[in-house]
């Protein structure tokens, strides 16, 4: 069973916006790419989709954008069923693919105009929005340059603008800051936060866990199936570590704690003990055990493990 966080509940299924995924699966012949995914994302939420390469993130996104038909389950994206309302669905979603996928011989303006035309938008009305993003991402003045001459970062930024040009309600971003310098990456992160604040639903696929931590309210860790789901804070606590500061050398209490069945790991360093717990409900037991062993405790707080550590542990657990 996946670990599921409980404090930041998503919107109810009745809410028209957002995403509702129920038992979603996809097989290519005998190969199962994704199975039994269930989660919900509410309007205005930035949701992280994490997993190693080949975990099924891209397949999931493709099902949610109407590019692939699910083999099992159902996904409703902004009121449109992914399996049946592909065309209507694609009008409300924006997809930034891993590769920018620009037409090199065409100028930035022509690339954007093409997608405006595909969405049957009035270019005169929509262009100011494109111009706004061009200015924001530092591409103003380069509209009439062929994309073939753009740097990797410029291409990525133009691809992001192309994703946003039809004012999508649901935005899928695959590694949005890939290839960007720190300043541009920050601009993109700020833009993502603003888009979410406007009520859009954003799914972020990234291997940049620091970025995910910064941007996403909740994340799903997938590896073909759902390994974990919850807020970043919940997942960071999901490792159930307790950080205890004791008087004197902590090392002398290590053997006492290691004997506890619910504490599979203990680290001691100076006056600090880091106790891994099978369940955070055992935290008081750890404290009681230490007091019983004569420890004078200055503080005992749930440890905030880096998301990266939690993520790697989840993947490791899945292997075992």
């Amino acid at each position: 069973m996946p670990r599921v966080g409980g404090t930041s509940e998503p919107a109810s299924a009745a809410e028209p916006g957002g995403i509702r995924v129920q038992g979603l699966g996809k097989s290519f012949g005998e190969r199962v790419a994704v199975e039994g995914l269930t989660f919900e994302v509410r309007p205005g939420e930035v949701f992280g989709l994490l997993g190693p390469n080949g975990a099924g993130k891209t397949t999931t996104v493709r099902m949610l954008t109407g590019l692939l038909r699910p083999s099992a389950g159902e996904a409703v994206v902004w009121g449109h069923r992914a399996a049946h309302d592909g065309e209507a669905l694609r009008k409300v979603v924006g997809l930034l693919t891993e590769q920018p996928g620009l037409y090199d011989r065409l100028t930035a303006r022509e690339n954007l105009r093409f997608f405006m035309k595909l969405h049957e938008l009035d270019e005169a009305t929509v262009w100011p929005r494109a111009q706004h993003y061009l200015e924001r991402f530092g591409l103003a003045g380069r509209e009439d340059d062929a994309c073939g001459g753009f740097s990797k970062g410029m291409r990525q930024k133009l691809a992001i603008i192309r994703t946003l040009v039809h004012d999508p309600k649901v935005i899928f971003l695959d590694e949005p800051t890939s290839g960007l310098d720190p300043e541009s990456a920050r601009t993109v992160r700020d833009a993502v936060a603003e888009l979410a604040a406007e009520g859009r639903t954003i799914i972020l696929c990234s291997h940049n866990l620091a970025e995910v931590e910064r941007l996403c309210e909740r994340v799903a860790v997938v590896k073909r199936r759902l390994l974990a789901l919850g807020s970043v804070r919940e997942l960071r606590r999901a490792g159930q570590a307790l950080e205890v500061r004791v008087e004197g050398e902590a090392e002398r209490f290590r053997s006492v704690l290691s004997a506890l069945s619910f504490a599979p790991g203990v680290l001691a360093e100076g006056g600090r003990l880091r106790v891994l717990l099978a369940d955070e409900a055992h935290a008081p037991d750890v404290v009681a055990c230490l007091v019983g062993a004569g420890a004078r405790i200055h503080s005992a707080v749930p440890a905030q493990r880096p998301l990266e550590e939690v993520y790697l542990d989840l993947l490791k657990e899945d292997v075992t």
Binding site: F28, R62, T65, G66, L67, L68, R69, A83, H84, G86, E87, A88, R90, K91, V93, L95, T97, Q99, P100, G101, L102, Y103, D104, R105, L106, E110, F114, F115, K117, L118, H119, E120, A146, A159, R162
Partner: protein, 268 residues
């Protein structure tokens, strides 16, 4: 998963592909080579006959094709007429070949440039994609054929005038061929290229494979020149009917092959 056909989206695909073609100098040069050959070669052949109309060998060649050729009929004129009729089959290679060059780039090229997924993530349907891309390949092909035809007519008439003293071209056969058969043949070349480029990963490979379809056409012309096949209005009308049927089959197959699921699962 596909909805109603929206012409605006098909026109958007056409607009983009046509714009891309206009900026693709290498492809434009490739497209110009074949028409240049198709126009200059027959003009050169006619000029050869006109230069020495009374050469004894010409009658020998003419009698090979038609042993009943009367003595009072000019062998040079007979051979000019035959060359123009036979060359018509060769001329039809052009409307087949040019869309192959373009369509191979436009479909397999989307895969190569990794633009396929963003494109398929837009509301455009498979039918609109096929329509837009086909239009972008067919229009230049037909336009080039017509321009080449005009140059061909002018060239042949200028060169043949000293012998014939009247305009030879355009005649009914060529008119039918260029304005009816050529678009059908162009559609055929485009359909083959779309289908092949939907199945292979590289534009160059798609071009090479699709270009093989001109071989039967060249073979037919070879049969005419060898005297095995006798080309005429009925012959070309039959050829046109066969190609029309193939066009319909190819159109249906292209729309099926440009299905999102299939393309994304395989190439996305």
């Amino acid at each position: 998963m596909s909805g109603a056909f929206r012409p605006r989206r098909a026109l958007a695909v056409f607009w983009k592909d046509f714009l891309d073609l206009r900026k693709n100098v290498g492809l434009l040069v490739s497209m110009a080579v074949l028409p240049a050959v198709m126009v200059t070669v027959p003009i050169g052949v006619v000029w050869t006959y006109v230069r020495q109309p009374d050469h004894a060998d010409l009658r020998t060649v003419a009698l090979f094709y038609d042993p009943t050729l009367p003595l009072n009929v000019s062998a040079a004129r007979f051979l000019i007429d035959k060359s123009l009729t036979d060359w018509f089959g060769m001329f039809l290679v052009m409307p087949v070949f040019v869309p192959i060059l373009i369509a191979s780039q436009s479909v397999a090229g989307e895969k190569e440039r990794r633009t396929l997924e963003p494109l398929l993530a837009s509301p455009v349907t498979a039918a609109e994609l096929v329509a837009g891309k086909s239009l972008a390949a067919l229009m230049p092909a037909v336009a080039i054929t017509w321009v080449a035809f005009v140059l061909f007519c002018v060239g042949v008439d200028v060169v043949a005038w000293p012998l014939v003293k009247a305009p030879l071209m355009p005649n009914a056969l060529w008119g039918f061929g260029v304005f009816v058969l050529a678009p059908l043949f162009a559609f055929f070349g485009n359909g083959v290229a779309v289908i092949i480029s939907a199945r292979v990963s590289e534009a160059r490979m798609a071009q090479q494979l699709a270009a093989l379809v001109v071989l039967p056409l060249v073979g037919l012309v070879g049969g005419q020149v060898a005297g095995v096949l006798k080309a005429g209005a009925g012959y070309y009308a039959l050829e046109g009917a066969v190609v029309l049927v193939l066009d319909v089959v190819l159109l249906v197959a292209s729309i099926r092959l440009l299905d999102r699921e299939r393309l994304v699962a395989r190439w996305g």
